[in-house]
């Protein structure tokens, strides 16, 4: 290929550092999903609440999260808040940025899932004497999470890939950050990024496959 001699042995020597980076990537992605799902449920409740203000808050969040680049969102968490004297570390900036994005997308997934759950279920639950919150908590939400389980794994994959945007906020411990640092030192661009791509692929593939297995066990009728 184009005047480039691959020196895999040299690049492979960096594999341990890259695998450590992969762990950080996975950690950020997992945490961002936990936070993202929690916020998305709250946003969904805001929309169901009937309150204009709460619905507007949820709608604004979803609009911004879904219609601006994730890169911009992460950058704004770091430098935008930084302008107001709120200084977040690269790790937190990246985590919050991705969680913000996750919450927006997941909330839309949940809304779609809710449409698939007949209104009669809530009414039946209410007629059994459940409070509106109990009806949501015990009847609607489990089904909502079940319907949106596979879209959630998509979002998880997306979150893993989004960690690579951390370099704009000086994140250098995740997989992509470690790789670009190694690249600056050695200029072995193609080997290093090929290895990084392979690790990303293996992580996301593992996540989707285990999600599918999990879904098969959890959602047997």
């Amino acid at each position: 290929m184009f005047n480039y001699n691959f020196r895999w042995a040299q690049a492979m020597a960096s594999l341990p550092r890259m695998l450590e980076g992969a762990l950080v990537t996975l950690e950020v992605a997992l945490l961002s999903m936990v936070i993202g799902i929690s916020i998305a449920i709250v946003l969904t409740l805001f929309r169901l609440s009937g309150s204009r203000i709460l619905s507007a808050v949820a709608a604004t969040w979803v609009e911004i999260a879904r219609n601006t680049p994730a890169l911009f969102q992460i950058y704004m968490v770091h430098f935008g808040l930084g302008g107001f004297g709120i200084h977040l570390s690269p790790y937190l900036s990246l985590l919050i940025g991705i969680a913000f994005n996750n919450a927006g997308y997941l909330s839309e997934n949940f809304r779609g899932a809710l449409k698939g759950i007949p209104e009669t279920q809530t009414r039946s639950a209410r007629s059994l004497g459940m409070t509106p919150i109990a009806a949501f908590r015990y009847v609607v939400m489990p089904q909502m999470l079940r319907i949106s389980f596979l879209p959630m794994t998509n979002q998880m994959v997306w979150a893993i890939l989004m960690t690579s945007l951390g370099t704009v906020v000086a994140m250098n411990t995740d997989l992509y950050g470690v790789t670009s640092d190694l690249n600056a030192r050695t200029f072995r661009t193609f080997e290093l990024f090929a290895i990084a791509a392979m690790i990303f692929y293996l992580i996301t593939k593992t996540v989707t496959l285990s999600a599918r297995l999990l879904a098969a066990r959890l959602f047997r009728y």
Binding site: F2, N3, G82, A184
Partner: protein, 269 residues
């Protein structure tokens, strides 16, 4: 096969084989264009003027090289990390991009002799107590990812075992973070530090000290095996100094004073 059939065959083969030996230098001259990778958020070496045209020391240097070769210059903007992929994939012929000539990198790309040398300065946020470079110990410091000073600073932080190092993607982000107080200090070339302090774009920063490192010699780079071109670039750099063009460009882009000495006492190239 008779000998009279072989001879014309050999002549034809030689004629056809000729162009196959054309190297990068030939390619540039015959294509009529020299494509240079230049980093354009690195004033005064590379930046954009009000009408968005690339300007700076490196831009002029590329234009001079193209003029010497008798071809048109084409400036291709890259970031620091993108220089090598641009070179390897054939998007550019050379990089005139303030590339530090480390031995590690020379395993991959071909360096010319140095065409410029930077000294580095420690720049701090005004709110931080710091009198010399060692004041950076234990602080949150950062620099532009992939640069010589970033590699130096990261190693210092590791050596100190305290504080935090953050590599931002470009010079502007480093100074934005410094100005906001997200970074306590940075190390950048004296040229960049002075330009950024003087510009007023980044309030609340001050130059503290010189960074105690070996001058950062930067060289032109091309593919490692392009000896013809490297040889040409070496002579070109020599001529730039000899003819006074180097001093002229220094005065134009950097300012008063002597341009950095590009020779090292006591050793051959």
């Amino acid at each position: 096969m008779k000998i009279k059939h072989v001879v014309p065959g050999l002549v034809l083969a030689a004629a056809l084989a000729g162009p196959a030996f054309a190297d990068k230098l030939d390619d540039i001259i015959s294509s009529g264009t020299l494509r240079c990778a230049v980093v354009l958020d690195f004033p005064p070496m590379g930046s954009r003027d009000e009408s968005n045209n690339p300007v700076g020391f490196d831009v002029d240097y590329c234009n001079d090289l193209a003029a010497a070769l008798g071809v048109e210059a084409e400036i291709v903007e890259t970031t620091f990390p993108e220089r090598i992929p641009a070179l390897m994939s054939g998007r550019v012929d050379v990089a005139v991009a303030s590339t530090s000539d480390t031995l590690e990198r020379a395993k991959t790309v071909g360096f010319s002799i140095p065409y410029y040398a930077f000294e580095n300065a420690v720049v701090a946020n005004e709110g931080v107590e710091m009198t010399d470079w060692e004041g950076m110990r234990g602080k949150t410091v950062g620099a532009t990812a992939g640069t010589y000073e970033a590699i130096w600073l990261e190693e210092k932080v590791t050596e100190w075992g305290e504080g935090e190092f953050r590599p931002y993607q470009n010079q502007a982000d480093v100074f934005l973070a410094l100005s906001q107080g997200q970074l306590d200090a940075t190390v950048s070339t004296v040229e960049v530090a002075q330009a950024n302090v003087a510009s007023g774009n980044f309030p609340g920063i001050k130059i503290v000290d010189k960074a105690p490192m070996v001058p950062d010699y930067v060289a032109l780079i091309t593919l490692r095996e392009e000896y013809g071109l490297i040889n040409y670039m070496n002579l070109f750099i020599n001529q730039q100094v000899r003819t006074g063009r180097y001093a002229e460009l220094y005065a134009k882009w950097v300012g008063e004073g002597e341009p950095a000495d590009l020779t090292v006492q006591g050793v051959y190239r």
